[in-house]
Symmetry: C2
Subunit: 700 residues, 2 copies
């Protein structure tokens, strides 16, 4: 070759070599490679034990008002570093969490945009990858509006996926289990009706997205630290199995208002050939900032009962009257005939307080205590609640006194009805009212279309609002359990008073038609990545008609599977959701719920397969007690329970609450057995599980 041509080739090769940069996980199983393509398009790829997980995938953002961040980049700097620290969460599945990663920080400059530069930070953990865009302070970058983020995840194959239809307003769909190639065909039937829903694509998917490859690789895509940004959904190109980020628009179609210096949330990819590693992954938490709260003594896990299920089933009502329409401050409730079915009465709440006190529960949730429930639903009503004015039959002061005298708290309820400006207007008053009346935790709700109209539950506007409510709650030392809000992205590390979210199809849907028997064998792989769920299990009376003859729904689990959920569905907030009178009929089984801990020193996945079964053991925080939960889908199975996490050389008593021999979720859900046996660290238990069944073990 001619000398100049050779030089050119060499330089090009070097340039090519220089442009690609790789780091691995600490254990070297994962390899992340960043590479700039021709035209200066940034890409990355991820492999696990040399198998491709994410093939070469583009990165970038499209903008509305400044030149886009899509191409024309050169790599002006790369820095690598590593990090290894252990931190202790305020509550969690483990007492301490190791944060151990290798990092690659790439600085990319667009010469054609006056040398404007951004950074992409990659962190590779043993269990996966996280990366985010950063927009540093600089003369040529100030305010900009995102039109769309274009982060790709080019999957290697037509994986099996556990997915929810992509939607800007709800996650209350049944998870669909199918190959990626089948998403399009199954989308229509997957989109079941909801009072607030907005799909965006025939192949749109939500995160966390759980997948399993043909050769047994588990992959989970999500985001971490969603702060002041729009929620990311994924749009699947089902021709080549590439997912691309699809942000939530605001009322005028914009997808993000940014001011440098700033950053996107982390995009996360958890990878393992062991399903249990996905369940136990702390990657999303590790990517969040440590908490700045100095005093966290007021943040405590809660086991509670509540005036709730009786309304969900239709046995009683949230509303005090049957008026079609009310106006707060105008409607005089003392002059209106009550409907006689109101759940949240002083008398009824006292019964729950007594039950809680008698059984060692921390709190009683009360819904329907405040004026406005007559026309709260589906009316897009602005001034729907004021969060401080009770119905005439709910005596705030008396219940404060009574609850305190029994050592029980009442959990406040703030249903916003999606009327977010109204909630913010009342927020300080509402939180003050809580503090003055002995409430230290609130369940908030966002049922219905968002007001301001045109905004979505998962847009930047609402993401900002949820954070506002959590931070302000922190100022008042109040814990928050937000329903119908954004699914969590590990923010509870920074704001540990965010002790719960719903953000998925919960137990209430068992009363609205039923959940599938495999529902809770999926949720820990999907919804629970990023934060706990207030799933509110514990339904012993699985036939709803027993409470409300008009309701033919039934809970699609056996009774002992409901017990197992207290272990398999990790949450620092656990409800015994059924009615006290039902628990009193099954007090032997109820003993497990009384005993089970809500905070843990450590957790161990014994067996797990998404959509099929989960068996988990956990050690209660600061106690020599362990709890095991095992659940299955519609198929019976034999679970294998090891006890090798017990201290060696000691013997413990295990109480096993299991399905009866002939139990099944649909035909014989209430058939169960309770037996005791001695166990040591060497014990291996084989336990039969009924269809839609499960079992729970307490070890002391």
């Amino acid at each position: 070759m001619r000398k100049s041509l050779f030089t050119m080739l060499l330089v090009t090769l070097c340039a090519v070599v220089v442009k690609a940069q790789s780091i691995t996980s600490p254990d070297k199983n994962l390899t992340l490679t960043f590479e700039l393509q021709a035209n200066g398009v940034p890409t990355y790829k991820l492999s696990y034990k040399k198998k491709p997980v994410i093939k070469t995938s583009k990165l970038g953002l499209e903008t509305k008002d400044v030149p886009p961040f899509m191409d024309g980049f050169t790599v002006s700097k790369t820095e690598t570093s590593n990090f290894d620290e252990t931190w202790n969460p305020v509550w969690g599945e483990q007492k301490s969490i190791r944060n151990h990663y290798n990092e690659l920080l790439v600085t990319l400059t667009q010469k054609a945009v006056k040398d404007r530069f951004i950074r992409i930070r990659f962190r590779v953990f043993n269990d996966g990858l996280g990366f985010r865009y950063e927009f540093p302070s600089q003369p040529n970058l100030n305010y900009f509006i995102i039109k769309e983020e274009h982060t790709q995840f080019a999957l290697a194959d037509d994986h099996k996926a556990f997915w929810l239809p992509g939607d800007f307003d709800t996650q209350e769909y049944e998870t669909v289990t199918s190959k990626l190639s089948e998403v399009r065909g199954k989308m229509k039937s997957a989109v079941t009706p909801n009072v607030s829903q907005t799909t965006f694509s025939p192949t749109g998917l939500q995160t966390p997205l759980m997948m399993k490859s043909q050769d047994g690789l588990y992959i989970n895509i999500h985001e971490a630290a969603l702060v002041d940004y729009s929620c990311m959904s994924l749009n699947l190109d089902d021709k080549n199995y590439t997912l691309e980020s699809f942000l939530t628009p605001d009322a005028i179609g914009d997808k993000g208002y940014m001011q440098a210096p700033t950053q996107s949330p982390w995009r996360t990819v958890i990878v393992s050939d062991k399903a249990g590693d996905v369940l136990m992954s702390k990657l999303v938490y590790n990517l969040n900032e440590p908490t700045k709260y100095k005093d966290v003594s007021w943040i405590k896990p809660v086991k509670y009962v509540g005036v709730w299920w009786e309304m969900i089933t239709g046995k009683s009502t949230w509303a005090y009257t049957d008026l079609e329409s009310v106006q707060l401050g105008v409607t005089d409730y003392t002059k209106v005939k009550p409907n006689g079915k109101h759940g949240a009465t002083t008398e009824n709440v006292k019964k729950y307080i007594d039950f809680a006190a008698k059984n060692g529960f921390d709190a009683v949730l009360v819904e329907g205590w405040n004026q406005g429930w007559e026309d709260w639903f589906g009316k897009t009503k602005d001034y729907v609640f004021d969060f401080v004015t009770p119905y005439p039959d709910f005596d705030v002061k008396e219940l404060h006194r009574y609850a305190a005298s029994k050592g029980v708290k009442i959990i406040m309820h703030h249903e916003t009805s999606g009327s977010v400006r109204n909630y913010e207007r009342h927020l300080d008053t509402a939180y003050k009212f809580m503090v003055e009346n002995g409430y230290n935790a609130v369940k908030s709700g966002y049922v219905g279309q968002i007001i301001p109209r045109g905004e979505h539950h998962y847009g930047q506007w609402l993401v900002n609002h949820y954070m506002y409510a959590i931070k302000k709650a922190g100022d008042y030392k109040i814990m928050v359990n937000a329903h119908e809000a954004i699914r969590p992205t590990g923010l509870a590390r920074t704001y540990p008073n965010l002790i719960g979210n719903e953000a998925a199809r919960g137990t209430e849907y068992e009363s609205f038609g039923g959940n599938t028997p495999d529902h809770t064998t999926i949720l820990p792989f999907t919804r629970l990545i990023g934060g706990p769920m207030d799933y509110t299990p514990g339904i012993f009376q699985t036939r709803i008609s027993a409470y409300n003859p008009a309701n033919n729904s039934f809970v699609h689990t056996t009774l002992t599977k409901q017990l197992a959920l207290y272990v398999t569905m990790y949450s620092p907030l656990q409800m015994a959701a059924d009615l006290p009178e039902t628990y009193e009929k099954f007090s032997d089984a109820f003993q497990f719920i009384k005993d089970v801990a809500v905070d843990w020193d450590d957790s161990y996945v014994l067996e797990a397969e998404p959509g099929d079964y989960i068996s988990i053991a956990r050690k209660a925080k600061g106690k020599n007690e362990w709890y095991v939960g095992s659940i299955t889908d519609e198929n019976a199975r034999v679970a294998t329970i090891k006890f090798n996490y017990l201290p060696k050389g000691k013997t413990y008593e295990a109480t096993i609450y299991a399905d009866g021999k002939d139990a099944s979720f649909d035909k014989n859900p209430q058939s169960y057995t309770i037996r005791k046996m001695k166990v040591t660290s060497k014990t291996v238990l084989k336990q039969q599980v009924a269809p839609g069944g499960g079992f729970a073990i307490s070890v002391k």
Copy 2:
């Protein structure tokens, strides 16, 4: 005729006779007729001294989610009544106001909509008509969404009109004077640029809309009591000169969310053959609810100076630094180099306080005192201000002490930058801060695109917000002067702490290119119908280049016309807007501003023609002092000033501040004379007025 046909004819005639219903004004000059057309379409018409003012015009509302309120009505009831009371406003042009009308209340039922019914209430005063829709409580009417209101005003002719382009976000256009038939051709040039503007039709117009017919009838269309509803603009059909209501949409195109029982605002038509009657009309106030405030002692008219004009002209800056971009709570201002041109410094404010104290002014407005001004404009920035954190060179405590020691108040400034959620989040804190630091009045501003995005300055969402801010201010005993907010509709009767609005092109535009010389001869006929304007006159140095050589604008009035404005532009809030050092150079002319009252026992229109000239006299509240102001447009004239409102048989001393012989607004604005003369109730003064000029008289 056959007997049955005859009967039918007779019944039809009777039905026709029964369906039309008329009432007159107390003095019988105005006749309002309501009539149901075929298809049950409600209509009305209005005549004055037997001449048609509004020809037969349809009424109705189009809805999104319930059957429309457009036709199919029958009259199920009509009730007439009359009312005659006198009430005393907290502040105003008159000490007492007579509310005297005849009322017709029509109940209309739609048989085809399960007998759903509405009411239309008509009130006819001696100076005009007001009517509104009412939606009473009933089983078949609850929540409904307005798609559009279809209230027509069928004008009798191609009137001369003084109009602003219809717009959902701004009123800062120059008024166009033209025939209605010329609106379409003049629209394009009328729509001058504004940071937040949204026109809706090539023949869209704002209210108040002032008109004059060929035979000298003055007609003004506006609305009263705009509460929890969308602002009404008018769409002109220029083929037949019919105006129709055009409401402001929200982010998704809806025009109103209603819950029965409720009502629309009043649609008002002021009519007279005397221009002065329009100026003096209290119809809009009379249609508003009396105030419920028990204690109004904290509401006082204010004469003020301010650290403001020096920034408007460009002599100094609102911002403390020249940073391109700041983040509240992050940017450390103590570490940033100040730009050396900051207006709101402790030292400078003290100078204004001294000046105010020396000259008997109540207060000093200070803009630019708080962090965030570097990037507040045009960035659609969410967390733009916190309303409590001052710049390092503005000492809140010291200025509180200093102002109090001099008996002067500081007027707070809350520029929201259109970021309304942010303002509401900080509102309580901001008002508390005011109370703690001695501020009892706030000028608020809404410059820029509204956030939440997609909403408009004049939509229901913002109308609700402005009311929220005013009511909450009332809780803190704070007076509000809201700029860039909705133009007033008489709500200051109910909320007398709303002491001012801008909502039109004010004095600042003299520095942004200039206002036309006839501008202020129009505003009292348009903008001031419904409430006062913080016009901020008093500019003596009319060449802006004297303050900022880069600014070639000039004020399009003579110096003494600026004095006259304190009388012709009624406001309980009056600013001497120029710089103290300028006033000190013209202290003889400045004496008028020191003397002029800001609250009145009575007011008298001496001469007036919209767009040409206005001469007004007023009696100071509780004093034996009168003030006269007379202004003209670009044409010189001789004003005729009567003094027949002075007590008979007494002699007073009048001080006349008038244009010099060779004065004119563009060539010689600062030429003026001051002379004294004795006057009695019999005196008639002829006074020369220069082009763009005016004169002011104080009588003691």
